[in-house]
Symmetry: C2
Subunit: 210 residues, 2 copies
């Protein structure tokens, strides 16, 4: 039943637009490019997503929401799992970063383009960026900031916040540039090597807070 031909175009548009937005930014992509890559009609975007802005909103939300849910769930499971004994610090960083580099339980085609898209979130200039960051990202950020601060050597609030910001920046920059690592490292790193990125980032993040 219901291998609906109906939502095929709708989903093709979602994938094509995600890839294009990740490469060129939302403002740098036209609906005609999207529908051409998706092998769909121009009017299909407005039919299925009302307008370009809501399409972008849905694309970002489709990734951010399950990602942050996975991060919070991993952190909760972590803190609940080991009773009163302190949580392994690297496990917190892992819970923070792994869903961004390697998709967890909610694949839905999470790929290199998705990573690059998520890496754009903080710098992509969108009308709904403040709301998106405020409602979807900020709670997870403060939640992890608290967890990290609890398990790391104390420093002044300002020092800690700066450090946290740097670590987040390193992570998102890595996501946004993972597709181009080979050229920028003179061939030492491979492109889109998410496993290596995650492994190295965890070590990096652990050290940053200790």
């Amino acid at each position: 039943m219901h291998i609906r031909q109906a939502d095929r175009a709708k989903n093709r548009i979602l994938s094509a637009a995600e890839a294009l937005f990740a490469e060129k930014g939302v403002a740098g992509v036209t609906l005609r490019q999207i529908t051409a890559n998706a092998h769909a009609n121009l009017a299909a975007v407005n039919y299925h997503y009302f307008d370009k802005e809501r399409l972008a909103w849905e694309i970002f939300l489709r990734r951010i929401r399950p990602l942050n849910a996975a991060r919070l769930e991993a952190l909760a499971k972590l803190e609940a799992g080991c009773g009163d004994q302190p949580v392994a610090f690297s496990a917190i960083i892992d819970a923070f970063a792994r869903p961004l580099f390697i998709c967890g339980s909610d694949p839905d085609g999470y790929n290199a383009h998705s990573r690059r898209l998520v890496g754009r979130i903080f710098t992509e200039p969108l009308p709904f960026a403040p709301e998106l960051l405020g409602t979807e990202m900020q709670p997870t950020m403060t939640r992890f900031a608290q967890a990290i601060r609890r398990h790391a050597p104390k420093s002044s609030p300002a020092d800690f916040v700066w450090r946290f910001s740097f670590v987040v920046g390193a992570m998102h920059h890595a996501l946004a540039t993972l597709h181009d690592m080979q050229a920028r490292t003179n061939g030492i790193c491979r492109n889109n090597d998410a496993e290596a990125a995650l492994r190295n980032f965890i070590a990096f993040g652990v050290q940053a807070f200790t």
Copy 2:
């Protein structure tokens, strides 16, 4: 002599466009917005800069070129200054970051918008981005990577390259989001506090490589 009224519009366009590009990205800004903010005529952009792309090119180059020159000069002076004794490691990170956060000898109106613009360089999707990064950024990057690697405990080439990439990412993310720190740190940090950002980043960078 020659306080030319002539290039006033030319310079006003440069400043207005830099601020707008920093906020909304190149693709998200129209020539009409630029010329309106610059109190100049629409045709002035094409007259003084030929087209929008060359305007963007000049804007990025105006910042990157003196910045990288200042960084390389600071590093050279550092290595020449202390004979055979090892260079203070924090001084290398300082030479790397200071020209980005606080303008050195080549002000020319370097300000909060300039920082945000420079912070965009790695993620801004421009036709000339590969060339810009390759010819202007890459040499400085490899030069500092060598200097850092020489004065830091040895690690495998891959590990070091990952770490270097993370540090660069942290730096550029900080530049790109410095304007919005107060909201994202629940009021702990001030907006556009470049001195605090630099101070904290140096400590962060030193630790990342030791």
